[in-house]
């Protein structure tokens, strides 16, 4: 199962409204993505929690519909 990049972005931004999301389709197959998510609301949260919030935003699709998402998170400079 594959997922479109803009669908991923929409889901993340719906759950984390202050997020800036950049998505790269690594293999061009709609199944291997790299996402960079930057949000002010991540400030003060442990990295594992930041990633968990992104996975929650994807609502169970991670590991099923979406096999490979290389994720990095951060707060704005």
């Amino acid at each position: 199962m594959a997922m479109a990049a803009d669908h991923i972005e929409t889901l993340i931004r719906a759950a984390i409204p202050d997020a800036r999301v950049e998505i790269v389709d690594l293999a061009g197959d709609g199944d291997h993505y790299e996402a960079r998510v930057v949000a002010e609301s991540f400030r003060g949260q442990a990295r594992v929690r930041q990633h968990q919030r992104v996975y929650e935003a994807l609502g169970g699709r991670m590991g099923t519909e979406l096999h490979a998402l290389k994720l990095s998170t951060g707060v704005p400079d």
Binding site: R47, V48, H51, Q52, Y55, G60, M62, G63, A68
Partner: protein, 108 residues
């Protein structure tokens, strides 16, 4: 469900560093697992691996245990640290080396 949780408790309690992965350290079956192994090898620490492909109960159970949807998963002294992306981010920032030193994990 409780039984799986107890099995995982016991596994992560037995060694300083445990990596739940697809495949083995010598023959990882997924790029993310391979990357996680490479980082730990590079750091020269002693670690145990659990191949989730060999154990369906653990494969699902580990995701519920940590509320984390994917494998690999790294545990240091019983505590869930994250997946391969977090390992890489922490490694590049020098934070992983620092954390392992602070936790005084066994060297390889």
């Amino acid at each position: 469900m409780t039984e799986v949780r107890e099995r995982i408790d016991s596994i992560v309690g037995k060694s300083d560093i445990v990596l739940f992965m697809k495949g083995t350290a010598l023959f990882p079956q997924c790029g993310f697992s391979q990357r996680a192994v490479a980082i730990l090898d590079h750091l020269g620490v002693k670690f145990e691996t659990v191949d989730v492909l060999q154990d369906g109960e653990i494969r699902q159970g580990i995701k519920d245990y940590s509320d984390w949807p994917t494998v690999p998963q790294l545990y240091v002294k019983g505590e869930f640290l994250g997946g391969s992306d977090i390992m890489m981010e922490m490694f590049e920032a020098g934070e992983l080396q620092q954390l392992l030193e602070e936790k005084q994990v066994a060297k390889a």
